[in-house]
Subunit: 302 residues, 2 copies
Amino acid sequence: MNKRKRQIIQAARELFIKQGFGNTSIMDIIEAAKISKGTFYNHFSSKNECLIAILEESRDELTNARRELALNQNPSDINELIDQISLIFHLSRKENFTQMFSTTFDSNDQEIKEVIEKHMIIEVDWLANRFIDIYGEKLRPISFECAIHSFAIMVFSLHLLNIATGSAPPPEKVVKVALNRIDTVIPILLETKDILFHEDIVQSLKSKISTAAVSKESLIEQLQGFVDQLSDKDSDRCIELANFLLVELKKNDEKLYVLESLLTSFNHAFNQTPHEKEAKEIANSLWQYLYSKKEKFNICTY
Amino acid sequence: MNKRKRQIIQAARELFIKQGFGNTSIMDIIEAAKISKGTFYNHFSSKNECLIAILEESRDELTNARRELALNQNPSDINELIDQISLIFHLSRKENFTQMFSTTFDSNDQEIKEVIEKHMIIEVDWLANRFIDIYGEKLRPISFECAIHSFAIMVFSLHLLNIATGSAPPPEKVVKVALNRIDTVIPILLETKDILFHEDIVQSLKSKISTAAVSKESLIEQLQGFVDQLSDKDSDRCIELANFLLVELKKNDEKLYVLESLLTSFNHAFNQTPHEKEAKEIANSLWQYLYSKKEKFNICTY
DNA sequence: AACATTTTATACTATCAGTATAAAATACTA
DNA sequence: TAGTATTTTATACTGATAGTATAAAATGTT
């Protein structure tokens, strides 16, 4: 991530949080970021694109935070799930971006609308997988249904509690209640199959967020290229971690849990360095690779 | 409702549906309505105010349609409730106003945001009362909880089905599933009281939509004034209905069911007349008066 | 017919998104 | 270090739009 770009995103983010997206003009951002108009348009083609970058960043933050929570935890522990879910509401409050996760934010802008829809599907898909972690494979056919119902209850309840009390309530309690509802309903759903989100609908939703599967070869290639460009300027910590990942990955019997454990350190090591963005991309690919082996090795969804 | 104003609202409504609120400029509305800029600002101080007028109108349409469905029906019939609920989704689709009923539509505009929040509370409050119609008084303490959960599931599910299939699914099926979920959960809720929306929270929400109670005296006064201004120009039907309502209302033992039955006719009679708006206001007051006697007389919530 | 109102046509201000460009600053490289 | 490439800056411009102002014309009322 470019230094300038980060500077702009930082300023824009603060302004959006403080005064809202619609009430922030590009000129406001430019002044706050202390850059010229040309520079802004050098990095973003519009205010929308800037917002989308912020949203993507938030999503990455969320994903990383959840993965860290999951480390060395039991994926079927309901309390861990409560904390993981709550993160999105803590984040969206911090960001003042209720719209980011809203059901039906009706942006004027098709572009933004689609990005937000995508984020919502990602969230629901994640939750569906976590439900399978907890309730087991038998839940798979109704996992999306459960995820959508519980997420709906959470978002709505938090929103209405917010309106009622004038301040944002702690999400944990709300999440817990929503999960209790789902817990009550699951036996009946399994029995009656009275659901809306059948296989075909779920596939259709997933297709909108599908990312190409990460092959081991491409991952090694990507990491090799990354390691090669590291120089003496980079810290020993960075170099050591990157090299270790590469060597481990090249083995035929790579240790998945070891790789998983090192991912967070690897991610953090490159913060604030010129390689930050690429490091995060690699971490993401690697995590997706590990995830694709999940069924065999029972690694937690996040 | 003024003729001009109606003309503007009509044009604006069509444009908003066709190309969205944000993509419609005031000049577009002016051209479509074939009026001048001055006239527009003569009736609305901004595009927002125009949107709010349309939203209010939609809400009135919805309320009227639901009341008509309720006439001569058993309030505890679940199928009637399904149809009544579905109306809002049919309407919001027709209007292309998903945001109208969205959870967290984050408008740039505080004004619009509050109107939408108000409409949402009205909807949830209505649904809570209908649940009491169906499940009985024992449900009252958890009626809001049930309403919020089921409405959340409906809105979310419809939205995601819409994304998945690319076209709006019939709401009835979705409504039915959501009501089934609530039906499953109610016994546990009654038993454990594990709810988020307790008395105080519900009161706080209701306070945001509270309308002053309608007294019989003020109602008679309002109706008397209305009748007095009717002239030969108005149809016999109009005059007869208005007078009958007035006479009946003045009795000490006014017949509530008779009044209720006549309300719809009264409402329709003044359509397209200069008195339309006032007639609708009176009908609304009268209905609220009847509703305030509901407990005693068991008139359906709508 | 006289008066009051609403509507129209038109011009104006102000804000904002986005484009264009030349000069200055910075980074890269041989 | 000198020279080249790039990024950034300052500035001016276009075009769209919200909203204001106003005088004349149309319409309604009594």
